[in-house]
């Protein structure tokens, strides 16, 4: 997973999403979100193949009745 978000990447994704951006937006967005993406990437989260979003509900509901 990339740990850096470049203005070029933001421009490409925005174009694919058909969301228009002003000339300086891509640089501003990259600056704003790069630290967050880098922090999550640095944790090197290693998920088992079988893990899906609904695994959250399974963990959460183990608590019912305890």
């Amino acid at each position: 997973m990339p740990d850096n978000i470049s203005p070029d990447r933001v421009t490409a994704v925005a174009a694919a999403a058909r969301v228009p951006l002003a000339p300086n937006d891509a640089a501003r967005i990259a600056r704003a979100v790069a630290p967050v993406a880098a922090r999550f990437a640095a944790a090197k989260v290693n998920l088992p193949l079988e893990t899906e979003p609904a695994s959250f509900v399974a963990v959460q509901r183990r608590e019912i009745g305890q």
Binding site: R28, A37, V45, E52, P53, S55
Partner: protein, 468 residues
């Protein structure tokens, strides 16, 4: 009539049932108070005086016939302007939704109405519930009832400051990244963010379907329990609520003796202003006197949990708003438009890795806390900053400032945990300080019980600001 500003929601509802005062008297009193306070704090976006008075008179007539609807019979309430009422305007704090009329009523509001409450107006909120300060370029800022130069916190800005000023005895907010808890802290009221899945979000404005929760801002923890007993429970219109346990009112009155309280050793205790650190210490001392067992706990790295929350929030919010970002971007305020555009930057892989990690992250949290029932933590490192100091609009530094304000909030949303904020002191400048009591999944009732015991031993929640 006793001064309703001195009463909690529970006490007001009881007084109405005993006919100590009528709903019409109470409503007139509230409308007069709203008229005095509104110019100073901008808590309401709409005031519906005639309809509220008509509803109050109807409630009085029904009570005279012995036909009370429920535990909130005759109580006027107002809520964040994102809870839809069929046929009523709900602008969600944005020019994008100017004049928009809701096609259906939110489940949470329908349940409050069925319990006998009625609407006195609608409350200010951050644009599309996507700002933690209470600034709003469309509506102007909501102002803190304790000091109108200060922020209310957001996004449930009107709910926080209206309850603080006792313009209403309770109000619904919503919490995706701290939007109930921050206004509760900054405005000195009780705020409750329930376990994810405990309260239906149907026909309320969505921001992030993974993180959104619906809950009350009230005077007391007992009041929060009263509201939760009405709005919690399964709703076919919101599948996340199916399979959640029913609300157990008896547990909200349990003794705190023997409850295990964890105090984090890192993250939540770092870089606190002295007033906040002192309030945390004093709160721990109070909890110890109540017979709870206090211990230190090592939580997993909260900065990673926080980053995952930010990624999920950003992508889901941008997904929801993509149609308008394509066609009506200029109608958003600059800060919210910028934040929505930020969600474009993350890849699908980053989003899904964060989302898939939610279950393992919750499991790691539960492993770390062991048999601890409640984690105590500050809501913010400081009391309410001024509106001018946080009026960042769309400047590039705004995102970092927002992340600093919401720092202690996001892990709880990502893990779907319940959290009760109780007033816990005040700064030397007189501004309120709240503490969050973070529970286990579906441990909502234990938090209400602990909050009730804490408030029986303290009087911070009884403080009422004076109009300046």
């Amino acid at each position: 009539m006793n001064d309703p500003a001195d009463l909690t929601l529970t006490e007001i509802a009881g007084a109405l049932r005993r006919r100590a005062f009528s709903s019409a008297e109470l409503t007139r009193w509230m409308l007069e108070r709203i008229e005095r306070w509104q110019p100073a704090i901008n808590a309401f976006v709409r005031i519906e005086a005639d309809e509220a008075l008509a509803a109050a008179k109807a409630a009085d007539r029904a009570l005279a016939r012995g036909k009370a609807k429920g535990p909130l019979h005759g109580v006027p309430l107002a809520h964040k302007d994102m809870y839809y009422v069929k046929g009523k305007v709900s602008e969600c704090g944005s020019k994008v939704r100017a004049g928009w009329v809701a096609p259906a009523t939110s489940t949470a509001l329908a349940r409050l109405y069925a319990a006998g409450s009625f609407r006195i107006g609608a409350l200010h909120m951050s644009e599309f519930a996507y700002s933690p300060t209470g600034h709003n370029s469309y509506l102007g800022p909501a102002c803190n009832a304790w000091d109108p130069r200060c922020i209310t916190g957001g996004s449930s800005s009107g709910s926080g400051t209206a309850v603080a000023a006792r313009l209403v005895p309770a109000a619904l907010g919503s919490d995706t990244g701290g939007s109930i808890r921050l206004p509760a802290h900054f405005c000195g009221v009780t705020g409750f963010k329930p376990t994810y899945g405990r309260v239906s979000r149907a026909n309320a404005l969505p921001l992030s379907f993974t993180l959104d929760t619906v809950g009350p801002l009230t005077v007391s923890a007992e009041d929060a329990g009263l509201i939760m007993g009405i709005i919690a429970g399964p709703d076919p219109l919101d599948p996340t609520t199916l399979g959640a346990p029913p609300w157990n009112a008896k547990r909200t009155r349990a003794s705190p003796k023997g409850l295990k309280i964890g105090v984090p050793t890192r993250f939540y205790v770092e870089d606190l202003e002295p007033d906040i650190a002192a309030a945390l210490d004093a709160s721990i001392a109070t909890l110890r006197k109540l017979g709870t067992k206090i211990s230190k706990i090592e939580l997993p790295d909260q900065t990673v949990v926080s980053a995952a929350a930010l990624i999920v929030l950003a992508v889901e919010a941008t997904s929801a708003h993509a149609p308008w970002l394509r066609t009506r971007a200029a109608d958003y305020g600059p800060q919210v438009r910028n934040r929505l555009q930020n969600g474009l930057a993350y890849s699908a892989l980053e989003y899904l890795e964060a989302l898939r990690w939610r279950g393992p992250a919750l499991a790691a949290h539960l492993d770390a806390i062991g048999d601890v029932d409640v984690v105590i933590a500050p809501v913010s490192r400081s009391v309410a900053p001024t509106i001018s100091a946080t009026d960042l609009g769309g400047v590039p530094e705004a995102e970092a400032a927002i992340q600093a304000i919401t720092r202690f909030m996001r892990p709880t949303n990502f893990l779907g945990l319940p959290s009760l904020v109780v007033p816990a002191g005040q700064s030397q400048s007189g501004l309120p300080i709240g503490m969050q009591l973070i529970g286990r999944p579906f441990g909502d009732e234990a938090l209400i019980a602990l909050g009730r015991a804490f408030q029986a031993a303290t009087d911070h929640h009884r403080r009422v600001p004076a109009l300046q």
